[in-house]
């Protein structure tokens, strides 16, 4: 049961986007459509899972003073792996996400979980935490992407349901800030009701 808690915590109680407000750059930049947001979320989840596992194994042998640079190297290595895999198998998504794939390295969520969780817990707990936080991030990004796509382009998951044009501003930069702001309000309200 306690193992299950690690998984759920990352999704609701410690949701990285709506509650902790971490990793804002990819959250705002890559959510122009639901598919893009989901792609970014899954890429981050893969890095988070692998780095959490490796860091939980390495934590006992890394000297405390140089731990942050060590974590960054581990994370950067997995980001490079994800980057090359995406370039090979999903070239279209790789092109759209562009610079934000290498920038997963400086995503505070990944380093934050390594520092706050993986270096104090065992391999299985860390893996579960990585998956939970990753799912929380993916759900948040998909929701934001979906709202922006529906309002801005009148389509959902690339299926257009109306031939007229949407409100373009929601796909552009200002829409990202505004949609995230209001979704955060909604999340706070729902949490307060529970």
């Amino acid at each position: 049961m306690s193992k299950f808690k690690y998984l759920i915590d990352g999704i609701v109680k410690n949701n990285p986007t709506f509650v902790l407000v971490l990793g804002m750059c990819p959250t705002l930049a890559t959510t122009t459509s639901a598919i893009n947001g989901m792609g970014m979320g899954l890429a981050t989840m893969a890095v988070l899972l692998c780095s959490n596992i490796v860091i939980s194994l390495l934590a006992p042998i890394i000297p405390n003073k140089v731990r942050i640079p060590c974590y960054i190297v581990v994370i950067a290595a997995f980001v490079t792996v994800v980057q090359l895999v995406m370039q090979a198998f999903t070239p279209a998504l790789y092109e759209t996400l562009g610079i934000f794939i290498p920038l997963i390295v400086v995503n505070c969520i990944v380093l934050g979980r390594a520092e706050a969780f993986a270096n104090k817990h065992g391999i299985i707990d860390s893996a579960l935490d990585g998956i939970g936080t990753g799912i929380g991030f993916t759900i948040a990004l998909t929701c934001i992407g979906l709202v922006r796509e529906v309002l801005g382009n009148l389509s959902a998951f690339d299926h257009k349901f109306s031939s007229s044009d949407g409100m373009l501003v929601f796909v552009l930069a200002p829409g990202a800030f505004i949609v995230l702001g209001y979704l955060m309000v909604l999340f706070n309200k729902l949490k307060a009701h529970k």
Binding site: C25, P69, V169, A173, P174, G175, N188
Partner: protein, 205 residues
């Protein structure tokens, strides 16, 4: 003339925070007071200029070069190499500044460690070595001087955006905001309106 176009493009049209979404964390995190926002942007201008200078040289003379008679192209190592170099550079700037100019260190010191995880620094370093820019002429890869000017201008754009935003947030503190909008949500919506204003610069270059 070309440099003027680069500066205007980087500061206003491709504003690093409001149109490229780099460096949102410090933009939301240290924008509660104008004075801290100002210190952060000064530190960022210094670090982004230096970081781009070093990573540009690494990209063109280490990752792509002829070593021992063999041509190598290991640009897939970009991410790892750049982040390590930037982290080391920031640490070094901190140590040097502490020694030679303690007053400046007092002013910028607390912001320097935060900058390593500012994605604007790594983002700018990656953009200048991977993207082609036209700036009114033929599309081309930027040379060293252009790259450094571009990324320092991006940092100036960050400074303008964060100082404007800090001014707005100081005012917001005094106004009566609905309970569930308080804190980050209202800040994000304000930033959205600011981004809308900056969209007006699109098309001037």
């Amino acid at each position: 003339m070309e440099y003027l176009i680069i500066i205007i493009t980087a500061v206003f049209v491709n504003n690093v925070v409001l149109s490229q979404f780099l460096g949102i964390c410090p933009f939301l995190g240290v924008s509660k007071k104008i004075s801290t926002a100002f210190g952060m942007s000064l530190a960022l201008i210094l670090v982004m200029g230096l970081a781009t200078l070093v990573t540009y040289l690494i990209q063109n003379y280490v990752l792509v070069n002829t070593w021992f008679g063999r041509e190598i192209n290991i640009t897939f190592m970009q991410t790892i190499v750049f982040i390590l170099v930037i982290a080391a550079l920031v640490q070094m700037v901190e140590i040097i500044l502490k020694k030679i100019n303690p007053t400046l260190y007092q002013a910028l010191g607390i912001f320097l460690p935060l900058i390593t995880t500012n994605c604007a620094v790594l983002g700018a370093a990656l953009i200048v070595v991977t993207k082609e820019f036209s700036f009114g002429g033929e599309p081309h890869m930027m040379n060293l001087a252009e790259s450094v000017v571009y990324s320092m201008s991006l940092a100036i754009g960050f400074g303008i955006a964060i100082i404007l935003f800090a001014g707005m947030r100081e005012q917001l503190e005094l106004s009566n905001v609905p309970k569930s909008l308080r804190g980050t949500p209202i800040a994000l919506i304000t930033a959205g309106l600011l981004a809308l204003a900056f969209m007006g610069f699109q098309g001037i270059v």
